[in-house]
């Protein structure tokens, strides 16, 4: 695994080179080619990590001393999701970003965000996690305000302030962990905490991490920034933010820190469950009333990430009760839903991005009958909608079903009821999008809208195939390749430490 550093190095290097290209090759397509080549390479590498496990020692320092990058089932899964979505979004951006002048800066920030996310996923060091998290966050703050309109700047400022509060909480937590154990290496911290037992300080640290990562994952009550930021960003960036950024910085970190480093107990798991459940319901309720379709999608992200966090929490409780097979089911459901939501929400933001660009409005009321004018966008978006609302046989149905079964078998009846209620709400507001935007009469103003260009349509078609095909991930054979290793990492908390320090 001595090439793992490329995941961080390539996007970081690309990010540094691109602003130079803005100056010297203003006309040519070099910038797009470079960004595409970088994301393509990292995607191929991400698929190559599947099934493998190992560590890379930066500067050849062995684990307790130096920073190491860790590849295991969970990080492979996240790498594949993040880099694949990034590749598709880059291809989509080629056409979409043509109207904005200095595209070099756009791709530069995009690659920095990717480098940050890859770093967060791979790193085995608490402070390094914070550094990569900030690289990804700062790049995303700038990308949200990229269009520099009044509303975009306002959204970026709100996101920036709340994001900085989250980061301050996270680094405070890292400091507390260092004070408690004298270590920064995640594996060493895990072993020290397991040996010395859990004191008050671990409780305080958990509270800081819950607030910090909760802000990054936009869980209620820390969700206020997400609808503004995700709806004001350019559509490809909305797809990145909603599709993967909140999962890499929020959900992944929650999972990694609570399951592999601190070790989850009932209190933390209960907070995760109820935080997730409240986010799920509140996000869905708020989405119903939205007139702006990008805001609707953003609220839906809060709701769907709530599902994932809730399932993580259920896994935690079942694990501390000693019901391992059931905990495995809940965690597998969480990761499965994470993959599905990444693909579906990226698809929806990209599809509605085409609608926004062609119709020049974000108000649902001003749309109508677009299915006739843009069949490809209409069909692909319909696939995304059906999958995210959980209609069989689309992928989203299977992951929601697994979470529901885990809730019923684990005797979380209230949670199960909320899950079903939220599914109904989700179906309701997505059907409203379909009805108002794609079906019915075409208003006079929209007679001239055209279909998306070929490259964008291709990207959406790939994601639409994913909306059905990802359901296959649960089949035996494929499950052992992707979902099961990642679930095992969360299930066998301390094995992570042994893997890192042993090899």
């Amino acid at each position: 695994m001595n090439w793992v550093f490329l995941f961080v190095f390539l996007p970081l290097g690309g990010g540094f080179l691109l602003p130079l290209f803005d100056r010297f090759w203003t006309e040519s397509r070099v910038k797009e080619a470079l960004a595409g080549a970088v994301t393509l390479t990292t995607t191929v590498l991400a698929f190559a990590t599947l099934g493998g496990e190992g560590i890379y020692q930066m500067g050849n320092w062995p684990p307790p001393l130096g920073i190491n990058l860790v590849v295991d089932g969970l990080s492979s899964l996240m790498l594949v999701v993040v880099n694949l979505i990034a590749l598709l979004v880059t291809i989509y951006s080629f056409k979409y970003m043509e109207e904005y002048t200095p595209t070099g800066k756009y791709y530069s920030l995009f690659l920095l965000m990717l480098a940050g996310m890859n770093g967060v996923i791979l790193t085995g060091d608490m402070f390094n996690l914070f550094v990569f998290l900030e690289i990804a966050s700062i790049a995303s703050y700038a990308l949200v305000g990229y269009r520099r309109g009044a509303v975009e700047l306002e959204a970026a400022f709100k996101y920036l302030i709340l994001g900085s509060i989250g980061s301050a909480f996270i680094i405070f937590g890292v400091g507390l962990l260092y004070a408690a154990t004298g270590q920064l290496n995640m594996a060493q911290i895990a072993l020290s905490l397991a040996a010395q037992g859990r004191g008050v300080i671990v409780g305080i640290t958990s509270a800081f991490f819950l607030v910090g990562f909760g802000l990054k994952a936009a869980q209620v009550p820390f969700h206020a920034w997400l609808p503004d930021a995700h709806s004001s960003a350019p559509s490809p960036i909305s797809a990145m933010l909603s599709g993967v950024l909140i999962k890499a910085l929020g959900v992944y970190c929650l999972g990694r820190v609570f399951f592999n480093v601190i070790g989850i107990d009932e209190i933390q798991a209960n907070i995760l469950i109820w935080g997730g459940a409240i986010s799920m319901v509140v996000g869905a309720l708020l989405a119903i009333g939205q007139e702006d379709f990008k805001r609707l999608l953003a609220y839906s992200s809060i709701s769907q990430v709530g599902y994932i966090v809730l399932a993580l929490g259920m896994g935690g409780i079942l694990l501390s009760r000693g019901e391992e097979p059931l905990a495995g089911l809940a965690l597998l459901g969480a990761l499965f839903h994470l993959i599905n939501h990444a693909a579906n929400k990226a698809l929806l933001f990209l599809g509605m991005g085409v609608v926004e660009e062609q119709a020049e409005t974000r108000q649902l009321a001003e749309l109508g009958g677009l299915f006739h004018r843009m069949p490809v966008t209409g069909t692909t978006t319909l696939f995304g909608v059906l999958s995210i609302s959980g209609i069989p046989p689309f992928a989203g149905f299977w992951s929601k079903l697994i979470i529901l079964i885990a809730a019923l078998w684990g005797q979380f009846y209230v949670v199960a009821a909320l899950l079903i209620a939220t599914s109904v709400l989700t179906l309701a507001y997505y059907m409203r999008v379909e009805r108002e935007a794609f079906f019915g009469e075409v208003p006079e103003r929209l007679r001239r809208v055209r279909e998306a260009p070929a490259a964008m349509a291709l990207v959406m078609a790939v994601l639409a195939v994913g909306a059905i095909g990802l359901g296959l991930l649960y089949l035996p054979g494929l499950r052992e390749l992707i979902l099961q290793p990642a679930t095992n990492v969360l299930l066998e908390g301390l094995r992570y430490a042994q893997m890192v320090l042993g090899g």
Binding site: F127, F130, V131, E134, S137, I138, Y141, A142, G145, R148, G149, A150, V151, L153, E154, A155, A156, F157, K158, L160, I161, G163, S164, I165, S167, A168, I171, F172, G175, Y178, A179, L184, P227, D228, S232, L286, G289, Q290, D292, R295
Partner: protein
């Protein structure tokens, strides 16, 4: 005792960030919060009457270990200062742009986003 003060400083920063209406005051609140975190990190490694963590030939390794302050948090603080410099520069830049668009720093008047 010192830890309590640092935590109080952190809360003051958080309070300012959440309750103030002026963009610049909000930014100052964030700065206070980040500095409180930096002070906290320094305190973790601090040792009363300790010496600078510079190794030379005149002292033995044992004496160094028992007397020197922990250098690691200091390295963390430097990194953390650089990161907060980046985010604060971005905050100020956006605040200036917002002032150009809206002509005010008051967040109650900068309210085009709702819902």
């Amino acid at each position: 005792m010192l830890y309590t003060l640092v935590f109080a400083l952190f809360l003051i920063g958080l309070y300012a960030t959440i309750t103030k209406r002026n963009l610049i005051k909000i930014i100052i609140g964030v700065i206070i919060m980040e500095q409180a975190v930096n002070l906290f990190l320094l305190l973790i490694g601090y040792r009363t009457g300790g010496m600078a963590p510079i190794m030379d030939k005149s002292i033995s390794l044992e004496e160094f270990v028992t007397r020197a302050v922990d250098p690691l948090p200091q390295a963390l603080v430097i990194t953390s200062i650089v990161i907060s410099l980046g985010s604060i520069a971005l905050m100020v830049a956006i605040a200036i742009r917002i002032y150009e668009k809206y002509g005010t720093y008051d967040i109650m008047e900068i309210r085009r986003l709702r819902g």
